[in-house]
């Protein structure tokens, strides 16, 4: 390409021309002075020509873009309703896409909010031969792992519990994390104010010190610096605040208010290798891969197995990236949502493409003129694309607003999902949205632009009348069918998720969660050293609660019914001959007396738990247990005992009763063989289940007051109806179903609009033909049904294609469905019926309008 010549070159070129004109005139006999004057006059404005020459060389892209932008704005002004339709459609498509992307970005793509977060892994011990997936780790083993490995910078552990802080007027429930040494080093975050623990603060009987979270600091001390050095009272001891963590320290367990050293030299934890206390986190050395770390720790655990065969021989270490542990199963849900919302965007683009096809066909004349003025095909395409881009840009600006709104909706809809609070609108999302508008421009605009400029010069001239635009338009019908197909796919997915949700709602859980209030009362693990006192305290509280007017009964349980417990136990039936001894995997649940009455679980035989003490050693089994393990034989009075006795295995017990099956492992899971141990006080903060006569939440205040009366030093927390716990378990389920339904309904409305718009446009093109046919005797009904059939054909084709597409894509939902098959006939039939119905409705109006053409007027117009 030639570079732009400088001004002097332009001058020289023009001067030469003028000189020749002067020569010409002198040769014709004009006096030199006069010749020069005439030549200059004839030549015209030199400056203007030079300016035009410079224009030729100006950055063509910028210049022509500006020109195109200007013409695009003119175009928008000329067709405001068209422009607004396109922008709103894109705002929906792009906005929804950006909103889901913002969740994917925050949850899946962005590293965890810690320095070099990819070095962080979660370690757990497990028995490869056993059934429990993972268990927390003994403190002493954490120290062993930390000392003996060669691939980690540091390994640490923590556990959390809820306690009361009693330095204020009323006890406040707080969550405390006991942390082993190296805790802050592993996370790689230092306090924003103050310091971390000194060695003398990490020792048993050392100085009591505490680091508090930013949230607690703001809540309790209003964010003032005076907090440092203040004392908190926990378990009756004063603790001095020495540090405040920064707000960016998003510890995986977000509720934690303060961090307290768990002394390494605590006598119990130093010797006992069977404690299961710690969630264990390690930071790998730079450059170490997870496989390498796994191999290294396997060696370490092998050595420990030799050293401590009794406790460590059967143990293995499981390592998973912290991020995987934290975001867990939500990955698939999010990608599925992203896939759906991308289909929606493609659909929106098809919709706009068909609008633009109609639009540019009407402008064939204008385009023909551009060609005849010497515009190249590329520049016309560029101009048409610029128009689309301006619309897409407008749409994506609106889309950003939609996404911002959606981020808020997401917080509400998914507050229990991991990292949900990290979802927000930032520059990445804005850039992504702009990227979407470019893609949308190409998707919507390329096809119409190429089609509009396809004609040759002579073709364009003869095409100047728009009566000759092809009325068959297979391309436009293909776009309509594609839209219908995409809508059907989304609708089928949404339908299946909704049916799942419906099926979950219909499940009879085997217990009655209505009218049950749950709450917990703060306590600390220190209390477990004196089980008698702990049991007495909980029994006393239960008695008092049962006496409150409006309470039918009360019970405790170590877990919330309906929430899955990770643990399984292996039992054997006492007295079975040694050679036929079976290991029976069961779900152990620990419940107090009154539990089955409170939850309305029927007692089928024998008696329900009568008391709530460790020494009672009684148990109740469910129907599944009997059917699976003791079918046909006697049940009541049989004894069960753990396969491997040990400090933390439950002691043997006698089966006193049989109860009905309840879906306590989660509503979507079949009941499993379960053993209820009649002891609901094994943990200082069991769940209190209180059956009330009226609405459970209306009792909350009087129960709280009662507890304060008898236990003034303890705080009450997690007060909520049992039904809410159950629905919380379906938060992800609900989010998926709600969002996908929203996308699907948007898709259906877009597809209907597409059908309506295309049919109206084509009917408009054929007014003359219709007029002619009416004039020579066609019936209006014939005209209407012809258009209706055309619309229906596109819907049926699209629907068929969509059902096939759905048949493939709903497989992606496997594992997310309950009570419904991925190819559920009823759902698919319903989707087809809905689509054909809405399709017919959207075709009806344009078809009827087409038939109302006044033949005389239509023919006169041309």
């Amino acid at each position: 390409m030639s570079r732009r010549p400088d001004d002097s070159q332009l001058d020289r070129e023009l001067r030469f021309h003028i000189q020749r004109l002067v020569d010409e005139k002198i040769a014709a006999g004009i006096a030199p002075e006069e010749a020069r004057r005439q030549a200059l006059l004839e030549f015209g404005g030199q400056q203007q020509i030079k300016e035009e020459l410079r224009d030729v060389y100006r950055l063509r892209f910028v210049e022509s873009s500006m020109r195109n932008l200007r013409s695009a704005c003119r175009f928008m002004r000329a067709a405001p309703s068209f422009s607004i339709t396109v922008m709103l459609t894109l705002a929906l498509g792009i906005g929804a896409n950006s909103a889901v992307f913002s969740a994917i970005h925050a949850i899946l793509l962005r590293p965890l909010p810690f320095p070099n977060a990819d070095q962080l892994v979660v370690l757990a011990q497990y028995n490869p031969k056993g059934r429990n997936p993972m268990t927390p780790v003994a403190p002493v083993r954490v120290e062993d792992w930390n000392r003996m490995n060669s691939t980690f910078q540091a390994i640490t552990g923590y556990y959390t519990e809820d306690v009361s802080e009693t330095s204020g007027q009323l006890p406040e429930k707080i969550t405390r994390a006991w942390v082993s040494p190296r805790f802050f080093q592993v996370w790689g975050v230092a306090p924003a104010i103050g310091r971390t623990f000194a060695p003398n603060e990490e020792r048993f009987h050392g100085t009591n010190a505490v680091v508090i979270s930013d949230r607690f600091w703001r809540r309790r001390f209003g964010g003032t610096l005076e907090a440092i050095g203040r004392r908190l009272r926990l378990d009756g001891y004063p603790y001095t605040i020495i540090g405040i963590m920064p707000p960016s320290f998003l510890f995986p367990e977000r509720d934690v208010d303060l961090f307290i050293p768990s002394p390494v030299d605590f006598p119990l934890s130093q010797t006992n290798r069977e404690l299961t206390w710690y969630t264990c986190v390690g930071r790998m050395r730079p450059g170490v891969g997870i496989a390498q770390a796994r191999a290294d720790l396997a060696t370490v655990q092998g050595q420990l197995g030799q050293e401590f065969p009794k406790t460590d021989k059967d143990l293995a270490i499981r390592i998973a990236p912290q991020k995987e542990i934290q975001i867990g199963g939500i990955r698939r849900s999010l990608w599925i949502l992203f896939g759906s919302v991308s289909l929606l965007l493609v659909l929106a683009c098809c919709n706009i493409a068909s609008l633009l096809l109609a639009r540019t066909a009407q402008r064939a004349h204008e385009i023909a003129i551009r060609f005849s003025l010497g515009a190249s095909r590329g520049s016309v395409i560029l101009q048409l694309l610029t128009e689309t881009f301006v619309l897409a840009l407008g749409g994506s600006v609106l889309g950003v607003l939609v996404a911002a709104g959606a981020a808020n909706a997401f917080h509400a809809l998914a507050k229990n999902l991991p990292r949900g609070d990290e979802v927000r609108l930032d520059w990445t999302i804005v850039v992504y949205t702009l990227g979407c508008s470019v893609i949308a421009t190409l998707l919507c605009g390329l096809l119409p632009a190429f089609r509009a400029t396809r004609r040759s010069l002579s073709g364009a001239m003869s095409q100047s009348s728009r009566r000759q635009v092809s009325a068959r338009s297979p391309l436009q019908w293909a776009l309509v069918s594609l839209q219908v197909a995409l809508a059907v796919t989304l609708l089928a997915g949404a339908g299946l998720l909704l049916r799942t949700f419906q099926a979950l709602g219909r499940i009879s859980p085997g217990f009655d969660p209505s009218h049950v209030l749950t709450l917990r009362i703060s306590g600390n693990y220190g209390e477990t050293s004196d089980m008698k006192t702990l049991t007495a305290r909980i029994n006393r509280t239960l008695e008092e609660l049962r006496g409150v007017p409006g309470v039918e009964t009360a019970a405790t349980s170590l877990g919330v019914p309906g929430a899955p417990s990770q643990f399984q136990a292996e039992l054997k039936i006492s007295g079975e001959p040694a050679e036929s001894e079976r290991k029976l995997p069961v779900i152990p649940r620990y419940v107090s007396d009154g539990y089955f009455a409170a939850l309305r679980i029927p007692v089928l035989a024998g008696e329900a738990c009568r008391d709530n003490t460790l020494s009672a050693q009684t148990a109740v089994v469910n129907q599944s247990f009997v059917n699976t393990y003791l079918a046909g034989g006697p049940v009541i009075g049989r004894r069960i005992e753990p396969v491997r006795p040990g400090l933390y295995a439950a002691p043997p017990a006698e089966i006193r009763g049989i109860v009905g099956d309840a879906r306590e492992q989660g509503l979507d899971r079949e009941p499993a063989p379960t053993v209820y141990r009649c002891f609901g006080a094994g943990n200082p903060t069991p769940v209190f289940l209180i059956r009330t006569y009226g609405e459970p939440m209306t009792m909350a205040e009087s129960l709280r007051r009662k507890i304060h009366e008898i236990e003034p030093g303890r705080s009450v927390f997690e007060v909520m109806p049992l039904a809410d716990h159950l629905s919380e378990n379906f938060a992800e389920n609900r989010m998926r179903a709600v969002l996908l339904t929203f996308f699907a309904l948007s898709a259906v409305s877009l597809a209907c609009m597409g059908l309506y718009g295309t049919l109206s446009y084509l009917a408009g093109l054929r007014r003359r033909e219709i007029g002619l046919r009416l004039a020579i005797g066609a019936l209006r009904g014939q005209i209407a049904s012809q258009f209706l059939l055309e619309g229906l054909r596109a819907s049926v084709l699209g629907c068929g294609a969509g059902l096939i597409l759905a048949g493939f894509s709903t497989r992606l939902l496997a594992g997310m469905l309950y009570g419904v098959n991925a190819l559920d006939t009823a759902t698919f039939a319903g989707v087809a019926a809905l689509i054909l119905l809405t399709g017919t409705l959207s075709a009806l109006l344009p078809a009827a309008r087409a038939a109302r053409v006044d033949p005389m007027q239509a023919l006169r117009e041309e």
């Binding site: 021309h17 003025l373 010497g374 010069l457 002579s458």
Partner: protein, 114 residues
């Protein structure tokens, strides 16, 4: 010549320039002169249209330009046709002939009918 008309003729002007330049290297004045002469004074090219067109064609790579000495010894910018330009010219010529032929046919047909 009113400006709209010259605009309308822009595509045609490009073709005429290419045609003239195809006859041999020539400067802007020469092109204007030759168009006037060959068309027997029917077509007049304004300098305001000629030079931007020349530079545009040069930028597209259809024309090559070189400074050289003119027939009367002055320095002038000479334009000649590039291979790409030759192809373009052939294309435009055949397009034009088709178009002109078609228009001619129509005109003749109309005359015959009337």
């Amino acid at each position: 010549m009113p400006p709209e008309k010259s605009d309308l003729l822009q595509g045609t002007l490009d073709m005429l320039i290419l045609k003239i330049v195809a006859l041999g290297p020539v400067h802007g004045y020469g092109i204007a002169l030759r168009i006037r002469q060959i068309s027997k004074e029917v077509l007049q090219v304004q300098q305001g249209s000629l030079y931007p067109a020349l530079h545009r064609l040069e930028k597209r790579g259809w024309l090559k330009a070189e400074w050289g000495e003119s027939e009367n010894g002055r320095e002038a910018k000479f334009y000649s046709l590039s291979p790409k330009g030759r192809k373009q010219l052939a294309e435009e010529e055949s397009n034009w002939e088709r178009l002109a032929g078609a228009v001619g046919e129509i005109l003749r047909a109309t005359e015959a009918e009337s």
